[in-house]
Each structure stands twice: as structure tokens, then as C-alpha cells.
């Protein structure tokens, strides 16, 4: 299950920007380093973040679902089909540079997935909206993100309904590739036209909430942002800047 899991960990209690900043820093650092050892350190940092957020139980399953196929494909594409020299490990012959590259690429994806699954598990969406409102983020942008998040599950349910309805009217979803491509139109059209018709409702909802007004809105219960957390976020920015400075000066790990 991907998403917020209620808890009392330091990350749950932190200002929503702090876990998000930590996850973003992991993402940027993962791309700043390019040796297996350095990427391993970034993975450990992501694991430490998950432990701090008491999120390991919530994220292990989705993490494995997301990263295992990537590791398998990397092993085939780089480990087995990679260039010379090759290592013989029992019945398997692996490319030495390919394995190194697979470790770097797989480690990056693993670190990013762990860090953001942790952020998603520890940042409460309503608290994030309050934090963004308190920071003066335009209401239209907040509404865009939040309404889309709620719209996607509804549209997915509607897609299933349309699929069932069209099949009950005789639409065949099997057969040749050409027949399946032709079946796209009667399935996609009602879905998209319905979504476009909903745009009008969204516009009315935005108008009613004064989205066009440039006035700063007042947050009802803004999360507390301590000096310590602001310093942590500043340190994360500095770490990322230093990593990229080292990378571009040729001293990166």
C-alpha cells in the first residue's frame, strides 16, 4: 500500500517540507554520485530515513515490487549482456563493468524509491496542504495537485465501468492487434469526454473558492516549522550543492 501511514515518528511530527526535502536530497545525491560505493552510501541514507520515519513496515512490499524488476532487467542488460572483461561465477559469466554499472543504476533507483515511499508514508496530505497555504503557494496550484489526486481513482473506476458497459454492448477486446487498436476509440472517447465535461465543474469549484484572487490565504492550522528543521533543510541543500560542485570539478565519488 503506497501512501500515508499514520504514526508518531520524528518524520510524522516534522514539518511536511522536511521529509520531502530529505527525499529530494536523496534523489539529487543519487544522480550526483557514480561509483557503487558512493551509491551504496546514498542507499544507506535512504534506509536511515525510512528507519527514522518508522516506515520500513509500510514500504518494504511496494519497494520490492518497484525495484526487483529493475534489478532483474539491469542484471540481464548489463550484467549478462555487458562488455568485456567477464567474470566466471560458477555456471554464470558476468560482465565486470556491466555489474558495476548495474550496481550504480540499481542502487540509485532503490535509494530514490525508498526515500520517496518514506516521504509518502510520513507526510499527511492535509498537513502538506496547510503548510503550502501557510507558505503562500497559490491556491490554484494546490487545488490542481489535490483535485488530480482525488480524480485519478474516480477516473480509474469509471474506466472499469466503461470497459464493462462496452463489452456488454458487444465490444470485443481481444483478437488481432488491429482489432484491439480499433477498440481503443469506443473505450477512450467516453472516458475523455466525461473528463472534459467535468472541467466545467472544476472551474466553478475554483471560482467559488476564489482561486483567481491573488490574495494570500490564511492557513487554519499550519504545521510548526522549527529553526532546527529549517537548518536541517538548509544542510540538505548545501550537501546537494557540494556533491554537484564536486561532480562537475571532477572530484565526485
Amino acid at each position: 500500500m503506497i501512501g500515508y501511514a499514520a504514526g508518531r515518528s520524528p518524520l510524522h511530527r516534522a514539518h511536511p517540507y522536511t521529509p520531502l526535502a530529505a527525499a529530494s536530497a536523496v534523489l539529487l545525491l543519487a544522480f550526483a554520485v557514480s561509483t557503487p560505493g558512493a551509491v551504496g552510501v546514498v542507499v544507506l541514507a535512504a534506509v536511515a530515513l525510512a528507519l527514522l520515519g518508522d516506515a520500513t513496515g509500510a514500504i518494504v512490499r511496494p519497494m520490492l515490487v518497484l525495484v526487483l524488476p529493475t534489478w532483474a532487467l539491469l542484471l540481464v542488460l548489463h550484467g549478462i549482456l555487458g562488455g568485456d572483461p567477464h567474470l566466471v561465477l560458477g555456471p554464470v559469466t558476468l560482465s565486470e563493468p556491466g555489474v558495476r554499472r548495474a550496481l550504480v543504476l540499481g542502487g540509485r533507483v532503490t535509494a530514490i524509491v525508498i526515500a520517496f515511499l518514506t516521504a509518502l508514508a510520513t507526510v499527511s496530505p492535509p498537513r502538506l496542504v496547510e503548510a503550502m497555504t501557510a507558505r503562500g503557494v497559490p491556491f490554484g496550484r494546490i487545488f490542481l495537485l489535490v483535485s488530480s489526486l482525488t480524480l485519478v481513482p474516480r477516473m480509474r473506476a469509471r474506466a472499469v465501468q466503461i470497459l464493462d458497459a462496452q463489452q456488454s454492448r458487444g465490444l470485443r477486446i481481444g483478437g488481432s492487434a488491429a482489432a484491439r487498436v480499433r477498440a481503443l476509440v469506443p473505450l477512450v472517447l467516453p472516458l475523455v469526454l466525461g473528463a472534459l465535461a467535468e472541467v466545467e465543474e472544476q472551474v466553478l469549484a475554483l471560482d467559488a473558492r476564489g482561486a483567481a484572487s491573488g490574495a494570500r490565504r490564511t492557513a487554519l492550522d499550519p504545521p510548526r516549522d522549527t529553526l532546527g528543521e529549517r537548518l536541517v533543510r538548509m544542510a540538505l541543500i548545501m550537501a546537494v550543492l557540494m556533491a554537484y560542485a564536486a561532480k562537475f570539478m571532477g572530484r565526485g565519488a
Binding site: I2, L27, L66, R108, V113, L117, S148, V152, A183, V185
Partner: protein, 174 residues
């Protein structure tokens, strides 16, 4: 935005080897214009990351920007008014999107991106094709098919749009 994410469900039910994850971006480009299409493309990329939990594909947001700009340009030329013009527009978009995605796929992800594209890359690599060429070939091939179908779908949607609804989108009248 949600259209970009939900069409994948229909595609999966039809077992088609495409994504069609840019239909919403192309549609917004044709209906509203490039700025709204870029916003739609980027937000759908972020939403996809939030809903799937996989944020490592965010660099592909650049492809959504390219798609938005191209689609808005060809829409102004009337490419989505007829199927005969939507097909070449889709082929052009496929080439452009593939050419944009391939370097990201190769340099950032070592060619391992999505199941279908990576499977094609692995087959080409197994046949002895160098990795950069295999990644570019797989990316271009899948994007040509994907974006051509996407553009034809957008043309079909625009043709079916009720007049009352179409009147709300000024870019459509141009």
C-alpha cells in the same frame, strides 16, 4: 492530467504494447495551448510518481515538455482536424519524443526503463546491437507507434467533441 494516467488501464486491458501516457498532454495542447499542456504533462508525471511510488522516472518530464510544445505547434497548423494529417503529426511526434527519451534512458537509467521498451532493448542487445543503438532503436520504435496512435485518438476526440463543449476552448477555434 488524469487522462494520461488512466488510459494506461484501458491499454493494459487490450494488451497493447504501448503506453498512450501523453494523450492528455496532446489534447490539452490542442484545446488550450502550450503552457497548459506543459503544466498537464509535468503534473501528470509527478502524479504518476506519487501514485506509483516510483519517483526515479521524473527525468522523463522533459519528454512531456517536448510533446506539449510540438503538439501545440502542429495543432495550430490544423494537424488534428483530419486523420490523414494526424498520422504524420504522430509519426513526427514519435521521432521527436523517442529522440528525447533515448538519451535520458541510456545515460540516466542504462536503458532499463519500462517493461516493454526494455524487453525490446534486451532483444536487440542479445542480437549483438551496441547498447546505445539498442536503447535508441527500442525508444524510437515504441514511440513511433505510441505517439501515432495517441495523435489519431486526439483527432477522434476533437471530432467527437460536442459543439457546446468545444466552444469553451478558444485554441480549438484557431
Amino acid at each position: 492530467m488524469a487522462v494520461n494516467l488512466v488510459i494506461g488501464q484501458i491499454v493494459a486491458a487490450l494488451l497493447l504494447p504501448v503506453f498512450l501516457d501523453a494523450v492528455g498532454t496532446i489534447l490539452v495542447a490542442a484545446l488550450v495551448g502550450p503552457r497548459a499542456a506543459i503544466a498537464a504533462g509535468l503534473v501528470s508525471q509527478i502524479l504518476n510518481a506519487v501514485l506509483s511510488g516510483n519517483f526515479s522516472w521524473l527525468p522523463f518530464g522533459i519528454v512531456q515538455i517536448v510533446i506539449a510544445l510540438y503538439a501545440a505547434s502542429v495543432a495550430r497548423l490544423g494537424a488534428f482536424k483530419r486523420y490523414e494529417t494526424a498520422v504524420p503529426a504522430g509519426l513526427g511526434l514519435g521521432l521527436l519524443a523517442g529522440a528525447t527519451a533515448a538519451p535520458i534512458s541510456y545515460f540516466v537509467f542504462g536503458g532499463v526503463t519500462g517493461g516493454g521498451v526494455t524487453a525490446v532493448t534486451a532483444v536487440l542487445r542479445g542480437l549483438g546491437v551496441p547498447l546505445p543503438v539498442a536503447v535508441a532503436g527500442a525508444s524510437m520504435g515504441t514511440d513511433l507507434l505510441d505517439k501515432t496512435i495517441s495523435c489519431v485518438l486526439v483527432a477522434a476526440i476533437l471530432r467527437s467533441l460536442p459543439e457546446q463543449l468545444a466552444a469553451r476552448f478558444p485554441a480549438l477555434a484557431r
